[in-house]
């Protein structure tokens, strides 16, 4: 019954001997916050940590893209016809033209530096994925918490909307939206518009996933004693929703946001692959794969680099997100 949960100590149980925990010789029992416990668990999870480090490296690469390309590559939209065979338009060097000068080789037909385009593509990919996750989390938290807390017809309507959105053919609707909206909108021009549109639509179709989780959590949290206590102390609705409930939802929301980013990266890549992403010549990973589709029989390396980059990025986010979930949730649902 008195099985020690933390570390077994040979010292006598302070409660059994009646002495307070502060007694000398007895290990001091310290309260640890959820954050500290999670961090301790995460540090022990080597796989998740590796994922986290890869994610950090990718963010650094995206932020310092001009610097990295300046040091190691050529401008992303510079043509290098001298690297191509004039007859076939394929790179002359081995492995798609990989050399010390062109780290990942050059594109067939255009001769642009693949390394630079991958580095710059990371910016688009991560930017769209992060911002779309922010949009989805904001909308999902708001509607989820409202549905869960108020219940009744409010919940019925919001839940129904979420169900319908979840079973929509999202990809086709996003394609439609992107092709209907003009190239300049609300003062934005060029790839700015496309990025804004991508963020908005990917985020919009993503919020029901967050909303369902938040709703479910709110449903169980609102019956807790501390909520009742806050209510009996005269706390208003807004106070209970945002000061009492929201802080307790941070953990699941964080986990879900982390796991949503890789999905968003795949969606953005898919849209660029289909020609509904950022406009060329802006570099994007999906767009590179679309170009590679024409030549991969003869020059497979042009397909391998962006494909493997997407894979590593998405896998790293997934591993990190899974680890974060395990660290924050001691029971490990699913």
């Amino acid at each position: 019954m008195t099985a020690p949960l933390h570390e077994p100590t040979t010292e006598a149980d302070p409660i059994a001997t009646g002495g307070p925990a502060a007694d000398s010789g007895v290990k001091k029992v310290e309260g640890r916050s959820l954050k500290q416990i999670a961090w301790k668990r995460l540090k022990q999870d080597k796989v998740a940590l590796t994922g986290g480090i890869v994610v950090l490296v990718l963010i650094v690469v995206a932020v310092f893209a001009p610097l990295i390309v300046g040091l190691l590559g050529h401008p992303p939209n510079e043509f290098h016809q001298d690297q191509l065979d004039p007859l076939t338009n394929l790179p002359t060097g081995p492995l798609g033209g990989v050399s010390g000068d062109f780290l990942f080789g050059v594109e067939p037909n255009k001769g642009r530096d693949i390394f630079s385009r991958i580095v710059y593509g990371a910016r688009i990919s991560l930017l769209v994925a992060f911002l779309a996750a922010v949009v989805a989390v904001a909308l999902g938290t708001l509607f989820g918490i409202i549905a869960g807390y108020f219940g009744g017809w409010v919940d019925a309507v919001i839940s129904r909307v979420m169900d319908v959105l979840l079973s929509f053919p999202q990809l086709l609707f996003i394609i439609s939206l992107v092709s209907v909206l003009p190239d300049d909108l609300l003062g934005l021009t060029g790839s700015g518009v496309r990025i804004a549109v991508l963020v908005a639509v990917i985020g919009f179709f993503g919020w029901p996933y967050v909303g369902r989780i938040v709703r479910g959590q709110t449903l169980s949290l609102r019956e807790r004693e501390y909520v009742e206590a806050a209510r009996s102390l005269g706390g208003g609705r807004a106070h209970i929703l945002f000061r009492e409930l929201l802080p307790n939802l941070v953990a699941p929301i964080t986990v879900y946001a982390t796991l949503m980013i890789p999905t968003n990266i795949l969606t953005e890549a898919a849209l660029s692959f289909l020609g509904a992403g950022v406009r060329p010549p802006t570099a994007s990973w999906g767009g590179m794969l679309r170009d590679a589709l024409e030549t991969y029989e003869h020059d497979p390396m042009f397909m391998v680099f962006p494909g493997v980059t997407i894979f590593i990025t998405v896998l790293a986010f997934n591993l990190f997100g899974d680890g974060l979930r395990d660290a924050l949730d001691p029971k490990g649902t699913r």
């Binding site: 129904r160 053919p169 394609i175 794969l289 397909m303």
Partner: protein, 350 residues
């Protein structure tokens, strides 16, 4: 409680609850169809206007002259009140529609999913040709992914912790992280161009033999199924592990039933319910995957039609494909709901 089929269960009220359940689901599908119609109408007719675009230009293409544009504006009724426009748009699907500008009438027979002023062909003609390809692709992939995913998940759950289990779960994580269009290209490069094991036809039509269809679709099926099979393996494993710990499984074993019967008739049957729930939501994902797979393998299905329409700026085709796909998903959801009633006795018996 509800895991094993009860032969002696009182039949009273049975059919009535099923009927009530089906009517409820039918109602939900009708609402979904309405939402789909409203959403597509908003995206294609209201949103561009709000964003400062001329809808007639979008539908006709930028190359058209002012006179042509004016004609199309009248034909589409773009100056009519929105409610009238919406009604014409909806009515055209079951009844057909005439786009009239004085004597100049463009007829679009039922089911009218729009008319491409660019190619001068009703969108339904395009859809009709593309439908068998997408249907065959989606159906084959979904059989593969359900069978493969559920089988892998069950074996993983039964041999928990074994090398087989860990390999399956690692593959599943990899599968979730791979973009379909990349795996598709790798598979094609390897099996079509390098090894020459399969031949992919340049075009597919209903005149082609079943062998051609099979040869062309086998790789796309596997590629499209792989990603989802991985997810379903994880899901099946988790639910199976949960179900196998239930009391009624112990009871079934204690009754002396064979292990095979316990697993398939008792455990798997109740584990199928959550899997079916996720499947219902994933039909849209399947379709999105089909769009990507078709573009990768150059299969002349609905997805490829939509993607080609993007580069040709042929808006009516994009509209038609989106609308049709959304309606198809609504119907597919109804089928899943009916399957629910078949599998889950709690639904059947109320």
């Amino acid at each position: 409680m509800a895991g094993s089929p009860h032969k002696g269960f009182p039949a009273t009220g049975g059919p009535r609850t099923v009927l009530a359940y089906l009517i409820r689901r039918l109602f939900a599908v009708v609402i979904m169809v309405l939402v789909v119609l409203l959403a597509t109408f908003t995206i294609f007719f209201m949103l561009p206007k709000w964003a400062g675009q001329d809808v007639a230009v979008l539908f006709a293409g930028k190359a058209s002259g002012a006179e042509q544009l004016a004609g199309i504006r009248i034909k589409l009724g773009l100056d009519d009140p929105l409610l009238v426009q919406f009604w014409d748009f909806v009515k055209g699907i079951p009844m057909g529609r005439d786009y009239a500008n004085g004597d100049d009438v463009t007829h679009c027979a039922a089911p009218c999913f729009g008319y491409s002023f660019r190619t001068e062909v009703p969108v339904w003609t395009t859809l009709k040709d593309a439908l068998p390809v997408t249907g065959a692709l989606a159906a084959g992939a979904c059989v593969l992914w359900l069978l493969g995913g559920v089988a892998t998940g069950v074996v993983s759950a039964l041999r928990r912790g074994s090398i087989w289990d860990r390999a399956a779960m690692t593959t599943a994580l990899g599968g979730v992280s791979l973009p379909i269009f990349f795996t598709g290209m790798v598979a094609m490069g390897l099996f079509v161009h390098n090894l020459g094991w399969v031949k992919i036809a340049d075009n597919l039509s209903t005149d082609d033999g079943i062998g051609t269809w099979f040869q062309t679709l086998i790789l796309p099926w596997i590629v499209l199924a792989f990603l989802n099979a991985a997810m379903y393996a994880r899901l099946t494993r988790a639910t199976m592990l949960e179900v196998l710990g239930e009391d009624y499984i112990r009871t079934a074993r204690a009754k002396g039933l064979g292990e095979g019967t316990v697993i398939t008739r008792h455990a798997l049957r109740s584990a199928m319910t959550p899997i079916l729930t996720v499947f219902g939501l994933d039909i849209g994902v399947l379709l999105g995957g089909a769009v990507l797979t078709e573009s990768t393998f150059n299969l002349p299905g609905l997805g490829l039609a939509a993607v080609q329409a993007i580069s040709n700026k042929d808006l009516p085709v994009i509209l038609g494909v989106t609308l049709f796909a959304a309606l198809a998903i609504a119907v597919a959801n109804l089928v899943v709901d009916i399957m629910y009633a078949v599998i889950d006795p709690r639904v059947r018996l109320g």
